[in-house]
Amino acid sequence: MMKIEAIIQPSRFESVKDALREIGIEGMTVTEVRGHGRQKGHTEVYRGREYTVDLLPKLKLEMVLPDPLVQRAVDTILKTAKTGKIGDGKIFLSRVEEAIRIRNEERGENAL
């Protein structure tokens, strides 16, 4: 079992979600986050006081998948989330120890 953590541009989310659904992946957790890599922020001015806003809004998608599905999911995300500009985001993969469904306490890949 692998966890895919994908931080993407909010404007790409609908396309990513639809593409993942098409390859059979429906379950995910989505969080609104702020952050930046090398992307510059913007400047706001309030009554003459300037603030540089470094933290930019992004969306973080998290999903835990059985190993056979992981590569296809990553390729799909890469294809649909990419705009080619700085600020597109990143994907992180990590191994997951265990998964448990709360409703009926199923374990392992059956719980995904």
């Binding site: 706001e44 001015v45 309030y46 009554r47 003459g48 006081r49 603030y51």
Partner: protein
């Protein structure tokens, strides 16, 4: 401050309308007035005809007075409501949106508190201190507990409306003036300290200033023969200079907010501020035009001047930002509007529409400069720019009133007497300066003394921990937004 001309015209029209009524009497009556008719044999008691006419005239006069009073009273009651709306929710929203989220309720609570507290003090003793008596500096206690303040007009102030209307209208001014100061102390003043300080401030600073400029016998009173008649139609000195200068003193005494100026503290909701600013603009028609104390052409003149000054100031602040930053901001536009409203306050019932545009245009630039350049040069943390907008705007407005006031708008010194610079009476600028300096002086000294007293009794500044956690939680045990619930 009232136009008498149209009242006489109306009375004359009524009298002329009464003439056809006399024609109802039999032809042999003295309506023709000729000796031939009188000697036709039918006796005409000479005393009855004049008495009937004078009776009718008396009744007509009463009806005219009642009609006028109804119009004036309706307008004044609406104006009082409009001015209260300026504090709640106008100012509460305007300030509320400008502070950080964790201090939203606290700043709103301070405005609301004053709506309650000042009202009670006013009813007990405040009105009397401001408008009772006839001393040069302060009123008296003759109207304490609102004794004698009822349906009968007080001809010294407003001869066509109940004195209770005048009293309740003036109360709304007394409420908003201390509320303005909370803009400078925002995000770091204790609630208990706020309550004590503003109570004392109302009694020691506001009441004398209100009496000196508007009260009978007040030595700055332009319409009741004060020694240095200061033209202040709706409160440039009494409201804006007093609160603005006091705000500066408070900001300096309290010190800067923790993290200021390095840490960004942008407004948490300019949407709230926008709504508040628009409510202030609309409400200000009650503040300025209502200060005519009647529903007459002077009220119209003040209404018009208020509106145009505000529009011009919003434009000039926006132009200044467009030039300086390359784009105008929403905060700048609404701040400009407020600056215009402040500056036209002393001038509203004395200047024409073109000078109003000029006053607004100037105020937008001056207040923009005060808030952006001057504040950063001196480094004081006037958190919501109470001094930059109200102190500076009120000062410039009061001085420009001396320049632009005209007798054709308001012959306040008597028919044919020049009023301001545009009438050639440049000495009025000197009187304006006296009023401005006295307002500055009272505010400066009064605030320093009262802050010290408040600090000794209740304390004025919250602890650093409380400040970082936020005033909503620490002073009021609440959160402004529980969006997850």
């Amino acid at each position: 401050m009232k136009h008498l001309g149209w009242k006489c015209c109306l009375l004359m029209t009524m009298v002329l309308a009464a003439v056809p009524l006399l024609a109802q009497q039999p032809p042999s009556s003295a309506a023709t007035g000729s000796p031939a008719a009188a000697s036709s044999g039918i006796p005409t008691p000479a005393s009855e005809v004049p008495k009937a006419v004078s009776e009718q005239l008396k009744q007509l006069d009463q009806r005219v007075t009642a009609a006028q009073s109804a119009g004036d009273n309706a307008w004044m009651l609406v104006s009082a409501a409009l001015v209260l709306m300026m504090t709640g929710p106008g100012l509460a929203l305007f300030y509320g949106g400008l502070v950080r989220r964790k201090n939203t309720l606290a700043i709103m609570m301070q405005s609301f508190l004053l709506m309650a507290l000042i009202s009670v003090i006013w009813a007990l003793v405040g009105y009397s201190l401001c408008f009772g008596g006839s001393g040069p500096v302060i009123g008296g206690f003759e109207h304490a507990f609102l004794r004698g303040v009822g349906a009968d007009p007080n001809p010294d102030y407003a001869g066509t409306i109940p004195q209770a209307t005048f009293m309740i209208y003036q109360l709304m001014f007394a409420i908003i003036t201390p509320a303005l100061i909370t803009g400078a102390t925002a995000e770091r003043m204790k609630f208990s300290g706020t309550v004590l300080f503003l109570t004392l401030w109302f009694l020691v600073v506001y009441a004398p200033l209100a009496h000196m400029v508007w009260g009978k016998g007040g030595f700055l009173n332009a319409s009741l023969g004060g020694k240095f008649p200061t033209l202040d139609f709706a409160g440039g000195t009494v409201v804006h200079i007093s609160s603005g200068v006091s705000a500066l003193v408070c900001a300096l005494y309290l010190g800067k907010r923790t993290g200021y100026p390095k840490q960004p503290m942008p407004p948490h909701s300019l949407v709230l501020s926008f709504i508040g600013a628009c409510l202030l603009w609309v409400g200000w028609f009650g503040f300025n035009a209502g200060s005519a104390l009647a529903a007459n052409s002077l009220a119209t003149s003040a209404f018009v001047a208020t509106h145009f000054a505000t529009a011009a100031a919003a434009m000039s602040w926006s132009i200044a930002e467009w030039i300086k930053n390359g784009r105008p901001s929403a905060l700048g536009a609404i701040s400009g509007a407020v600056a215009g409203l402040v500056a036209i306050t002393p001038a509203a019932g004395f200047v024409g529409p073109m000078p109003a545009l000029a006053i607004g245009f100037i105020a937008g630039f001056v207040c923009y400069w005060m808030v952006t350049k001057v504040k950063s040069i001196f480094g004081y943390d006037d958190a919501l720019d109470a001094f930059g907008v109200h102190g500076a705007g009120g000062t410039i407005g009061a001085l420009l009133t001396g320049v632009f006031a005209q007798q054709v708008i308001n012959p306040i010194f008597g028919v044919g007497k020049p009023v301001g610079g545009m009438d050639g009476h440049w000495g009025q600028l000197g009187n304006q300066l006296v009023g401005v300096l006295i307002a500055w002086g009272f505010a400066l000294i009064g605030t320093i003394v009262l802050l010290k007293i408040t600090d000794m009794i209740a304390g004025v500044r919250v602890t650093e921990t409380e400040e970082i956690e936020g005033l909503d939680i620490t002073q009021h045990g609440e959160e402004a937004y529980n969006l997850e619930s």
